[in-house]
């Protein structure tokens, strides 16, 4: 009887600790398609305002594509470059320009980083100090690409 009681006590300890573990999974915010659509719309408006033809790519925190829009008359090569910039910003959690700057200032080894497109124009979207995704823009000058990406990223509050 006593052993049964202690078994029950043991079970309830295990149960409690199990519940504790379940509650202790940290959560993260994720980018929805709706949010990505808002980002792209803001970026497209900015590109149109500047008369720029660009590709706008939005990826999630894993660097995987959620949305891409290639504006009419944009060079097709910008599709891969745009995705690459967004992916770089997302998985390295910083603007892709940082790598372009590193290489320009002599750190050629940064070219060897796996999965990186070290070209200006990718901007991470940070919410509560967490990167939830990124936007990459390609098709125009590096500075304009980045400016447009920033406008897109800023569309989310």
């Amino acid at each position: 009887m006593k052993s049964l009681a202690s078994s029950i006590a043991l079970v309830s300890i295990l149960w409690t600790s199990g519940a504790y573990a379940a509650d202790s999974f940290p959560t993260k915010r994720v980018l929805s398609l709706e949010a990505a659509t808002r980002v792209a719309a803001a970026a497209q408006a900015e590109a149109t305002r500047r008369g720029s033809t660009v590709v706008i790519a939005v990826v999630d925190d894993g660097g995987h594509l959620i949305l891409l829009h290639r504006l009419d008359d944009t060079q097709v090569a910008s599709v891969e470059v745009g995705i690459g910039k967004a992916r770089t910003a997302a998985i390295f959690r910083r603007p892709s320009k940082e790598f372009e700057d590193q290489i320009r200032s002599g750190r050629v080894a940064a070219l060897a980083l796996p999965g990186a497109t070290p070209l200006q124009g990718g901007i991470p979207r940070v919410v509560d100090a967490q990167v939830i995704g990124a936007i990459g823009v390609s098709g125009n000058t590096p500075q304009e690409d980045e400016d447009i990406a920033k406008v897109g990223a800023a569309a989310l509050r």
């Binding site: 929805s32 894993g62 097709v76």
Partner: protein
């Protein structure tokens, strides 16, 4: 002289057909691609609501992609691959899945090739202007159905080719149209056809799976039944069901000046008509 004339002629001949050296080909715009995706998303939401939809141009280059919430991440690349395959091989990607399935395994060696059901070409005026690929819907079959719905939206209303026009119908034409009951505006590829309808006696029970009817009663009176279930319903055309009567539902008396909105999928029936009943319908699709 002869030789000069010959030279002149050949110069003219080689110059004038210059234009003929270039064929005209329609192209898809980003607006068109977005429209295809919107239609595909609507179709995907009929089953599960997940999927990635990619639209490529006739060179197989990506124009637009959208991944619905909760769709597996790898689906983006698969959908692009299916669309590319359909565009560059000018066939639904299922054709190649079938060929390989029947034993031609060697075909998987082709480079840049996604032989999986779910990619279909977008064809306007007999020309392939691009393709749409879908991955991550409820099944491979649904992937293809969602893609077809997207392609259809562009094919029936080629955005890259022409924008909707302003339409004008003078009163005599509208009157003539009501005199016999007719389609005033067939929609011309838009989503808002207009009917000038006339009814002398009771109609059949109707269900439009696609069109929502916005009805404005201009003359006469009728008993109008909505909802309930159609008795002996048969599909007489795509998205159109007709039956002998409606069981249950709500019954109203409609007369001149009344407006009714009947959402798509809702059975409705002009039951007892004090004719002629004239009514104006905008069909929203």
């Amino acid at each position: 002289m002869t030789s000069m004339l010959f030279m002149l002629t050949s110069a003219v001949m080689s110059a004038s057909p210059l234009g003929a050296q270039y064929a005209e080909h329609k192209t898809l715009t980003l607006d068109g691609a977005k429209r295809a995706i919107a239609a595909a998303v609507a179709e995907a939401k009929r089953s599960g609501g997940t999927g990635v939809i990619a639209v490529v141009d006739d060179g197989g280059n990506l124009m637009a992609v959208e991944r619905l919430d909760d769709t597996f991440a790898a689906g983006a690349n698969i959908s692009i691959g299916k669309a590319r395959t359909a565009a560059l091989f000018k066939k639904p990607s299922k054709a190649f899945e079938d060929i390989i399935g029947k034993g031609r395994t060697a075909m998987v060696a082709l480079a840049d090739f996604t032989p999986l059901q779910g990619g279909v070409p977008i064809v306007v005026d007999g020309q392939i202007i691009g393709a749409i690929g879908v991955s991550g819907a409820a099944s491979a079959q649904r992937d293809e159905e969602v893609a077809i719905a997207g392609a259809h939206a562009v094919e029936t209303s080629p955005v890259g080719a022409s924008a909707p026009r302003v339409e004008y119908f003078p009163s005599e034409r509208v009157r003539d149209s009501f005199a016999k009951g007719a389609v005033l505006f067939d929609g011309g590829g838009t989503n808002y056809p207009v009917h000038t309808s006339r009814r002398e006696s009771a109609g059949q029970a109707e269900v439009h799976l696609r069109d929502t009817d916005v009805i404005y009663m201009l003359d006469g009176a009728t008993t109008f039944v909505t909802g309930g279930s159609v008795v002996g319903g048969k599909t007489i055309a795509p998205d159109e069901i007709r039956g002998a009567a409606i069981d249950g539902g709500d019954t109203r008396r409609l007369a001149k000046g009344d407006v009714m909105i009947v959402p798509n999928g809702t059975p409705h029936w002009f039951k007892d008509v004090d004719g002629p009943v004239l009514y104006y319908v905008v069909k929203v699709r």
